[in-house]
Amino acid sequence: MTRRSPFPGYTDPRRVAVARVAAVLGCLGGVAYLLWRATQLDEVGPLGWVLFAAEVLNWMTLVSAVPLMWTPRPRRWAPPPQGTLDVYVTVCGEDAAMVEETVRAALAIDYPHRTYICNDGRIARRDNWAEIERVAERLGVECFTRTDGGKGKAGNLNHALARTSGEFVCVIDADHEARPSLADDLLGHFHPRVALVTTRQAFHIDESDTLGNQEAFFYGVIQPAKDADNAAFSCGNGVVYRRKALRSIGGFSEWNLVEDLRTSYELHAAGWRSVYVPRPVTRGTAPGTAAEMASQRLRWATDSLRLFFWDNPLRKEGLTWRQRLHYAQTTGIYYLTTASHVVFLVSPVVSILLGARIMAPSSLTAYAVLLAVFLGPLAVMLVAYAGPRGAIRLAQMQTFLAPVFCVAAWRALRMRPGKGEKAASGVTEKSRQSRLNGITLFQHAVFAALLVSIGVGFADPDGPRWAVLLWASVMAAVLATQNSMVSLRRETAQSVRIALTAPAVVAGLIVLLASWAPVPGGAKATLASSATRVDPGLTPVARKEDRKAPPAAPATRKLAPPRSGAYLGAYNLQFADPRRRASAARRYGGGLRIMHRFQTWFGPGRLLDRGWIASVAARGAVPMITWEPWRKPEGLDTDPSQRPGLLREVASGRYDSYVRLWARDAAAYRRPLVIRFMHEMNGTWYPWRALGNGNTPADYKAAWRHVHRIFTDVGATNVSWVFSVDSLAGGPPTPRSTLDRYWPGSRYVDWVGMSGFNWGSDGAVPAWRSFAATFRPTYDVLRTFGKPVMVSEVGTSSRGGSASAWIRDALSTAAAMPGLKALVLFDSDSQSADFRLRSKAVRSLREGAAEHDLDAPLRTTRP
């Protein structure tokens, strides 16, 4: 090693440059992601808001941290050492053999020095304090065994400080062996105002460092960046202090029980400087089990947060503003932000097991792309700074420790100095490390819950929600690594880790692969559920048609309103019968532009009948489908209590697999297709009504937008959406102010529609009512939306009057409504009344349509 080279492992300037670019991109990507997320918040529940808040908090922390770690300081070799040195080996019940090794290593430091054992075993009521004294005697080292004073390492050090006189004081923990070059590496950095020189920590652990003890990111970037702002703090071990500086603040700080951070804090506030040397000068033991690490980090976090809550760095006098920000990050913001990761851990569990609406999954792709622009650069930044393994370990450690930091925050809040509970004293166990403890039970429980959620999510009868499943898989894989560390035996721990991680990783891969074909039960199930296989009389050749590709079109087109007049459309049961479809269409003359049918989400025939829409297009008409999210009860037209809370379920993505499959088929069709979705929401007879059955107007909007987004995501822009209300039998129409509560928004609606019937003398609403009386009030309301208006269902009974005359009157009235751009007849029998047109009425229809320009030619447009 030459003196010209930087310290080994020091951050490469090129990596710093890459990391800076990535950090900026990550911040900007975060803005894009969060803005997109904000537009979806009306579709999520309270937990979704909490999740969003956690995301915002993490982004804000990132944004505030990036400037602080912008310029890691490149420390190089120091001038030759000078001054007298005392080396303190702090002991508190550690194994005597271990202490002996540590003291021997301390004695072997090249630079002239005096070594002391600071034996706190007696005051901490450890059994072996006398044995430590014998070790000291055997090695010829002076041993300070306290008999009084407060618990904690700071008291122990202050006790020794009062009994020694070296110009500099080096603190070494009992389980760390010093390098012989320790003093040569550190003492030269003591310029007159330097109070402490702290170093990188190194441990006797295997290369994989499963628990992340090496903390590559902290020691590789954070500390050097703090060093640049004179805010590097002592890590307690392998650190050298200037005695004079310590005296100036009254010795090691006993305010907290973990003395290092607070002592550094006071030194900086007193105007002293610190130096961080990114080279380990000792090597020691580290927690070998997750439980032990959690205990250690709980102590550190509690102590740090106590400082943050009760002696806040932002208000600390004597610190520069950058030092304040650094200390605020270190003592509070880091822990609180990490604690918020609990939300990321439990959200998929709550979503899958309890059905909470935490996200509006337009599609897995949308989330993946937007998350990638946020998290992708962050991953690059972390890898650039800490290497791939260091980055992964950081993510794993933060996820695992999030619940621990929640506990720490709670404890710290209750530990107001001088008024209540004090922090518990403790040292990291070196020999008998616990495998499980209370503060890791939560992580194990969450891991189990994640695995259960994955299983439940895959078995969802409505098809898996891929985004949440992938999320659960990733969380399980991340958590599995730390959770597996329940044994000190390396091979055992590794086997447990692999056994826990593999299912989560495989589940994630299956999610990614299977999300390409999100069909519940697979392709075979799709065929089995198709209507085309159920009713032989209705759809005899549909299976063959299924295999045909839809007719090729040069480009995707969408229905546009006619320049003048209106389109004539019809619903006729015979449209569904390929043998009778042509003759049924001919019944209305050559002017039929829209062929209408109904389709339910549940039960047989729920998929888009590609054969039918293709045959409609072949007849020069546009297919219109009234798409109903229910299972039509046998022999009934209403079922207002079916699936309570349906709209919330739709909005939460419960039926996304089905909707996406349908949407893809619609997109593949490419020609104009009209969907009349969740119609007559202002009535009381359907389960998707906007008021009642567990639904709210907001749910209706959210469900509509959610489904619309899926269509947009898969490219089904050829679909025109009809927001269709009921005219309420000509009574007072639903006012605009009420409709506004249901209205999904202009972006989500292409046409507004209304339905109404002349029920005749013995229908559901017996009265002979004219077209104008039925529709005019509602038409006036709908026109205010600024969209083309469609009469999406209109029929007349022939009982109680002349259907033929009614039709003639209807057509002339419709022609006088300039905003009316389509009129779709309901020419069929229903449960409530018979609306089939007799031949005379049909003749009136054909003649009237031609006369009143209701056979306008189809006009399409690019979406």
Binding site: R490, S495, I498, I510, G521, P536, P540
Partner: protein, 508 residues
């Protein structure tokens, strides 16, 4: 207890997993015999329970006629090599073509596979792993499926397992000529039984030729012995592929959640219908764990032939998934069957090498997955479509002049033909016309519009329809009513898919 005494429990963590006397490693052959007996019992006891499956009828068709017929079947209907059909041809000529007798060789091969897996696992990880592997094979829902099927898959599994076990023996005794010869013969046979064997032979040959302890000349000869049959079969494979014989499977072999779980947990995928698939998910978890441990865990690095087991288990899986993503959908366990013995061995190795609690947990999960798969396979919804039941119902009431037609999914027509012949419905070898086939139509409307049915209608004959899916009563009455007929009798038969039998006659 002395503090200095060696802690033997810690060093042998799995010793208590298998403590029954018959399963102890003192008498390894007793364990083998027990496993084979369990397998044989499971395979044989329910050998005739499930009706013939469409693919089995293909095998029957290919094997029962002349060699020319077989060649035509291979050319136009199959994507498989000829060896199995040649063997089946001889077997059918010898013992007849009842379903149980035709399946008997598969059951025997299944029992042989139990023993072969035991042999392979013993060479890889010792007798305890061998016993676990043999038991898992005996109870594997997938092995049960193919050990009760008139198809070549179980034979291909047996052949590749023998080939791999022989190679492992060869590495333990490099001087002995017997093992490379046995290995090459088994490997060559495997590819003559099913093309998918190549997915195992590739890693097997790659692993073998890179063993420095083996004689180089013998390695080369072994590789050549494995490759030659494959090369010889290439023209046939290209011919069959060119005919599009596989295309029918594409609809249900796509990448879906269920298919992915099934192929990853291949040993645990049986013929169970949908709704009882949790065994597959558990099985996928077990296999994923076992393969990950074998491939990544430091404690498994000393397992002999680790690379061989991993390669033979993973290559078929990866190829099937990649092919499904990049080329044609083939995400079905029929294409990963050859990897099953190796997956089972990996699970067995994991069970005995893991710490006790983990090993027991993995074994328990595997046992649960097996139990779910077997129970589901032997329950009503785990049986193939009950064409046998439908034909027997028809036979009981068949009248001269009646017509039988299938509707909807026409895959079971061959089985109707087979059972028609077995039951001799209408005399002279089934349906009254020797080898006449049951006509199939997509829908009843299509059937009623066809010339042959219209002729029956004109004569007022009764019509039998076997339909998948089940037709709603109202629709039936409406459609039949349009031609002056009405349903006289309706029955349903449970199975993987539900069949409906409808007898229709003139109204009144």
């Amino acid at each position: 207890m002395s503090l200095t005494a060696p802690n033997t429990r810690a060093r042998r963590p799995a010793t208590t997993l298998l403590s029954l006397p018959v399963l102890s490693d003192r008498h390894p052959l007793r364990g083998l015999a027990a496993a084979v007996a369990v397998g044989g019992l499971v395979f044989l006891l329910t050998l005739g329970a499930s009706p013939m499956f469409i693919d089995e009828v293909f095998s029957w068709n290919a094997a029962r006629g002349s060699f020319a017929d077989m060649a035509i079947s291979l050319h136009y209907a199959e994507v498989t090599p000829p060896l199995y059909y040649l063997l089946l041809h001889g077997w059918v000529a010898l013992v007849g073509d009842s379903a149980v007798l035709m399946r008997l060789p598969s059951a025997a091969a299944g029992a042989g596979l139990v023993a072969a897996t035991w042999w392979l696992a013993r060479g890889v990880a010792g007798r305890r792993a061998a016993l676990v592997a043999a038991l898992l094979t005996a109870l594997s829902p997938l092995v049960l499926t193919y050990a009760q099927q008139v198809r070549a898959y179980v034979f291909a599994m047996l052949a590749v397992t023998i080939a791999a076990a022989a190679v492992v023996e060869w590495t333990r005794d490099p001087q002995r000529l017997l093992w490379p010869v046995v290995g090459a013969v088994a490997a060559g046979s495997s590819i003559l039984l099913h093309y998918t064997a190549a997915l195992v032979l590739l890693p097997l040959v790659a692993w073998t030729v890179t063993r420095p302890e083996l004689d180089r000349r013998r390695r080369v000869l072994f590789a050549a012995g494995c490759a030659l049959p494959g090369v010889a079969l290439l023209p046939l494979l290209l011919l069959q592929s060119g005919m599009g014989n596989h295309d029918g499977a594409e609809e249900y072999a796509r990448i879906t959640k269920d298919n992915l779980f099934a192929v990853v947990g291949s040993p645990f995928d049986g013929r169970a219908g949908r709704g009882v698939a949790m065994g597959r998910e558990l099985g996928a978890l077990v296999v994923a764990d076992a393969l990950a441990l074998l491939g990544l865990a430091a404690g498994f690095r000393r397992v002999p032939a680790r690379g061989l087991v991993l390669g033979c288990a993973l290559v078929p899986l990866v190829v099937v998934l990649l092919a499904s993503v990049l080329m044609h959908p083939v995400a079905l366990t029929r294409y990963t069957t050859v990897a099953v013995p190796f997956m089972v061995v990996a699970v067995a190795v994991a069970v005995v090498r893991l710490p006790r609690a983990l090993g027991a947990g993995l074994a328990a999960l595997a046992a649960v997955a097996c139990a779910i798969g077997i129970v589901a396979a032997l329950s009503g919804s785990g049986m193939q479509s009950d064409t046998r039941g439908a034909v027997r119902a028809v036979a009981a009431d068949w009248q001269r002049g009646d017509g039988l037609y299938s509707l909807g999914y026409i895959g079971f027509n061959g089985a109707l033909d087979y059972y028609g012949k077995q039951e001799d419905v209408g005399g002279t070898g089934g349906w009254g016309a020797g080898r006449a086939s049951v006509p199939g139509f997509p829908t009843m409307a299509d059937a009623l519009a066809s010339d042959q049915v219209r002729a029956k209608l004109a004569d007022g004959r009764r019509l039998w329809f076997v339909s998948d899916p089940v037709l709603p009563a109202a629709a039936l009455e409406r459609v039949l009513g349009q031609v002056g007929y009405e349903p006289l009798e309706r029955r349903e038969f449970d199975g993987i898919t539900r069949l409906q039998l409808v007898l229709a006659g003139p109204r009144g």
